[in-house]
């Protein structure tokens, strides 16, 4: 029996009849969304893998924010490994009247040990795909190599001079490819490569400078491994070993997080598509009941019918999923475009694995949610050919969808890369559907009690809802899910983005000066006065690392929270002050008085206290410049970081940290018309690090904008899937409505009466859906804020109003539009069709 050919023919016919459109659309959207993210992350993964040691510039790196003891280098040389070192720090670079914050990398001969450093002597204009030539050398003394960003922003040509601290260095080449500079948020600023021997003359290495010292090591794998083991046992806090396997972990983590978030967003469209598919197949099976009964009557066995539809849907699934994969392949280019701020690299072409995953997702989705109604079709009684009132014993219920739900859960866990997260998101959906369904049934019951009241239209509307209780609840839950996607995309997203972005108050400080030395305080004050700007308050800074709490030593490994780990791993700034800053607020304990001067007490910022677990009364031990410093916490402060004033996580009273090596920091507001001031300032104080807050905020906001646009783009799939649900939900009762309309009109009901009673029904269903959507969207917004973005989401009361109004308006309009054609047909035509 050539069943396959028959199913192909039936597929074609069903397609022609428009029976499969919603289903195919939903499937394409779901697979498209998944593969868009899949292809994109595949390309990033391939780029990361391809770079390997290229990314590191070595086989192994020992990094520290203090000068590395010489035993590392000695041991590496003793083992016969190649070594080189680099030193990285931010500083101002000037040329003519303009200056720019840049990242300086000073390197010694041999850099890079792995990967290629490519340069070119061609300047002027960005040349796309400019390869440059591989060089084995580093900049000669007195010269620098610069990257494109610096070339463009300072309008530099070959032979120009730039000022770095006290030195003037000649630009001789432009870097086209540099190891250790490829993917990540970190490389936002322009970069300069200099010869390490030029560094002392610049005078930039001073107390309090943020420097990362690196020892690069390369050689035979086994020997490198021996060296890794040897160094591991000698690492002190603040020193770390980075190998190929843990190359740039922060970038990998950031990209992993982005990928997970995008995947979860794409999965939201999969869930909605599942709802649309379930609704569409339910309608499909209802419409095919007669056909199946006829086939049963004509001799088709149950397995024949099942196979017929399995072939039918498998073929459909393969075609729609393939189209979805193609869509994903095209759409991922948009992600690459929007996320280019994160990925400064030509990405390799993706592998076909995401397409395989896409196909698999599509098939699982389709079969998981189409199978229960199809299994039902096979058992349609043949007697239906004689008695149309015999339908299906609908015994599958939600349990029938357990295959689909299980498959979706597996997908969630897989894509979230986290069993708990995957299960909780999926569990959240199921619980939401269950709660919505329950509330829906209760409300329908309550509303049914009102059916005796109100005008004729309401009475019929309510009566219809009562009669189709299950259908109405299914409809409003499905519509609620679709609308929820819409609300999340509009209101919640705006709320979250508003929380994300911070705007600068007009008179807020817009320049930070860091790295001010004690002997420069007086000249700086004079300089400000000479330029008619009131000297801003200056704060001392002492760098220290938290090493113990209440006498117990702590190491990063004690913490699971990544921020806590980072806070323990790195040095941060401590300061002292007599008065508390006006934008600070004591939330626990008390600020010190004059008599506390010199007492070893601390005030800790609320956020850091919470992350690391510090309470008032705790004793903290810091390693400051190699010696321990212990003090007890007397207050916890809340800091308004948005004020852009200088603030510190940890502050002591005066007279406690004064003996330790310190530098100073200040912030001030520079009016735009005084732009020259900065150039003079840098020339007079070349070691200062000037941070242009406005441009940083601008840069960060640009990144946020683009990332959020990428997220929005993925959410577009969710939105479309939401529309598919809306359509499928409204279509699900269409046939019944058509039948009803024919009878009502035959009995003399006016068009307007019918429209009014349907409008009443859709209004109620839409209202229910709107309330469900608002509840779901609020919960989802809270969850996204709390767990994905780490910010507290404040509930927006407007979401309820918007949800309710949108639900009523959208569903009523869409519902009436969907049923419009019914009204224009002659009742007899419809009755004949049904007969």
């Amino acid at each position: 029996m050539n069943l396959f050919r028959l199913s192909v023919r039936m597929l074609k016919r069903d397609w022609r009849a428009g029976e499969l459109r919603v289903l195919v659309f939903a499937l394409i959207i779901a697979v498209g969304g998944m593969t868009t993210v899949g292809f994109f992350s595949d390309r990033v993964q391939l780029a990361l893998a391809r770079q390997g040691n290229q990314l590191l510039g070595a086989d192994l790196i020992i990094a520290s924010d203090r000068i590395l003891p010489s035993h590392y280098q000695d041991e590496a040389k003793r083992l016969g490994l190649s070594v080189s070192s680099s030193l990285k720090f931010p500083s101002m670079a000037s040329s003519g009247d303009s200056s720019l914050l840049t990242e300086i990398k000073a390197v010694t001969q041999g850099y890079p040990l792995r990967g290629e450093l490519r340069i070119t002597e061609e300047f002027g204009g960005r040349v796309a795909g400019l390869q440059g030539r591989v060089t084995e050398s580093i900049p000669e003394r007195g010269t620098v190599w610069i990257d494109d960003k610096l070339m463009v922003r300072l309008s530099l040509k070959r032979g120009d001079e730039i000022e770095l601290g006290d030195s003037r260095l000649k630009v001789t080449a432009r870097i086209t490819q540099e190891p250790d500079h490829s993917i990540g948020f970190i490389n936002l600023g322009p970069r300069i490569l200099i010869n390490a021997d030029d560094l002392p003359a610049t005078g930039l290495i001073q107390q309090g400078s943020r420097i990362v010292y690196r020892l690069l090591v390369a050689g035979e794998a086994g020997v490198v491994e021996t060296f890794r083991e040897w160094s591991r046992s000698r690492l002190v806090i603040g020193e770390r070993v980075e190998g190929i396997r843990d190359a740039r972990p922060e970038i990998k983590a950031a990209l992993d997080r982005a990928e997970k978030f995008l995947s979860l967003a794409a999965l939201a469209s999969v869930v909605l598509a599942a709802v649309a598919i379930a609704l569409a197949v339910r309608r499909f099976s209802q419409r095919h009941l007669d056909g199946c009964a006829v086939m049963r009557c004509l001799g088709a066995s149950q397995s024949t019918i099942l196979r017929l539809y399995l072939y039918h849907f498998t073929l459909l699934g393969l075609i729609a999923s393939s189209v979805g994969c193609l869509l994903g392949l095209v759409a991922q280019e948009a992600l690459v475009y929007w996320l280019s701020v994160l990925v400064n690299e030509e990405l390799p072409w993706p592998s076909m694995l995401p397409a395989v995953h896409g196909l698999l997702t599509g098939m699982i989705l389709l079969l998981g949610f189409a199978l229960p109604p199809l299994l039902n079709l096979r058992s349609v009684p043949a007697l239906r050919v004689l008695r149309r009132d015999i339908g299906l014993s609908s015994n599958h219920g939600i349990a029938g969808y357990s295959i689909g739900l299980a498959a979706l859960t597996v997908l969630f866990v897989w894509k979230a890369g986290d069993v708990r997260l995957g299960l909780s998101v999926m569990g959240g959906f199921i619980v939401a559907i269950f709660i919505f369904g329950l509330i829906g049934f209760l409300l329908v019951r309550v509303l049914s009690g009102l059916s005796g009241q109100g005008g004729g239209a309401w009475r019929y509307g309510l009566a219809s809802i009562r009669r189709r209780a299950t259908g109405s609840v299914v409809q409003s839950v499905a519509l609620g899910l679709g609308l929820m996607a819409l609300l999340v995309l509009t209101l919640i997203r705006d709320d979250l983005l508003q929380n994300w972005k911070t705007s600068l108050p007009p008179d807020a400080p817009n320049r930070f000066l860091v790295n001010i030395q004690k002997d420069q305080l007086q000249p700086l004050e004079v300089f400000f006065k000479e330029n008619a700007i009131s000297p801003p308050p200056v704060f001392p800074m002492v760098r220290g690392r938290l090493t113990g709490i209440n006498g117990k030593n702590i190491v990063p490994g004690d913490f699971t929270d990544t921020r806590a780990k980072r806070l323990i791993e790195r040095e941060f700034n401590l300061s002292w002050a007599r008065e508390m800053s006006p934008d600070n607020l004591i939330v626990k304990g008390q600020w010190w008085g004059r008599s506390d001067t010199g007492k070893p007490v601390l005030s800790v910022e609320e956020g850091i206290a919470k992350t690391v677990g510090i309470k008032v009364g705790d004793t903290l031990t810091y390693d400051v410049a190699g010696s321990p410093f212990t003090a007890s916490v007397t207050s916890i402060r809340r800091v308004d970081w948005d004020s852009f004033r200088v603030n510190f996580f940890v502050v002591t009273p005066p007279g406690v940290l004064d003996e330790y090596p310190s530098s100073y920091i200040t912030s001030f507001h520079l009016p735009t018309k005084k732009a020259d001031f900065m150039n003079h300032l840098i020339k007079s104080f070349p070691n200062f690090l000037v941070i242009d807050v406005a441009s940083i905020i601008d840069q960060v906001q640009r990144v946020m904008d683009q990332v959020s646009r990428a997220v929005e783009f993925v959410f577009l799939f969710t939105l479309l899937a939401g529309f598919a649900v809306l359509y499928a939900a409204i279509a699900s009762t269409q046939d019944e409505r058509i039948h009803e309309a024919a009878i009502f009109r035959t009995l003399g009901s006016k068009r307007s009466q019918l429209v009014r009673s349907w409008a009443a029904e859709f209004t109620i269903i839409g209202g229910l859906a709107g309330v469900f959507a608002a509840a779901g969207a609020s919960a989802l917004g809270y969850a996204i804020g709390e767990y994905a973005l780490n910010l507290s989401y404040s509930f927006n009361p407007w979401i309820w109003v918007t949800g309710l109004v949108t639900g009523v308006v959208v569903v009523t309009i869409a519902g009436l539009m969907g049923t419009r054609s019914v009204l224009s047909q002659a009742p007899l035509t419809i009755l004949r069709k049904i007969a």
Binding site: M1, G291, V294, C297, G299, Q302, A382, V385, L386
Partner: protein, 228 residues
């Protein structure tokens, strides 16, 4: 395959009873029906609405199961078979014509007629289907969908579908019920003509005395009992 008429019964119903439970009591729809139809014979089942005609037809075709009694089709006890076994038997032996035509709306006239052949795995279903549609006068409407055809034309397609597998037995349930009298009599003419050409057995359910008179034999049902 067409078979020569013989005197062995192709359909035999023994003590066929169908009752259903209602809220208050048991409702007897068919009571102790005994029936035997010889191959090639035409039999009309007549009676008023609710007399149990369609129920009897459903039981004879194995579309429904009786409360008691048995039905033998071509010598085989159909209720000893499972649902799929009965379906296979129907595919082999029976053709159906229904009051509401029961054409698949997504299929063209030709495709509707091809369907039983396709289900039976016939290698070239198109030719016999086209021949039969030509025979019923719809040779020019092969590609039309049911909704593009009039009621009479739809019933012709249904008749072509019923005869295309060359069944030994054709069952028709009120085949003119949805048609006007002129069209109805044309349809009946066509059905009888095809039945004779192909030597099939015909069981016809109708409440129309005129139509039933054209059959060789009649049984009348009244409240589920055979009264003739």
């Amino acid at each position: 395959m067409r078979e020569e008429p013989n005197l062995s019964p192709i359909v035999q119903a023994i003590a066929l009873t169908k009752q259903v439970s209602t809220v208050s009591d048991e409702l007897v729809i068919l009571h102790d029906i005994n029936l035997s139809v010889i191959a090639g014979e035409s039999l009309a089942v007549i009676g008023s609405s609710g007399s149990g005609k369609s129920t009897l037809l459903g039981l004879l075709a194995g579309l429904d199961v009786p409360s008691s009694g048995s039905v033998h089709l071509a010598g085989e006890d159909i209720f000893s078979l499972d649902e799929d076994g009965r379906a296979a038997l129907r595919g082999r032996l029976l053709g159906f014509v229904f009051q509401s035509f029961q054409l698949l709306p997504a299929l063209t006239a030709l495709e509707n007629v091809m369907l039983p052949l396709e289900l039976a795995g016939v290698r070239d279903p198109q030719h016999p289907a086209m021949d039969l549609l030509n025979r019923v006068g719809l040779g020019k409407r092969l590609g039309h969908y049911p909704k593009q055809l009039s009621g009479g034309e739809q019933q012709r397609v249904a008749i072509a579908r019923a005869f295309v597998t060359e069944p030994q037995l054709v069952m028709a349930d009120e085949p003119t019920g949805n048609l006007d009298s002129t069209t109805g009599s044309q349809i009946i003419d066509l059905m009888f003509a095809l039945n004779q050409e192909r030597g099939a057995t015909l069981i016809l359910v109708t409440h129309d005395e005129t139509i039933s008179n054209r059959c060789e034999r009649r049984i009348r049902l009244d409240s589920g009992r055979s009264v003739v």
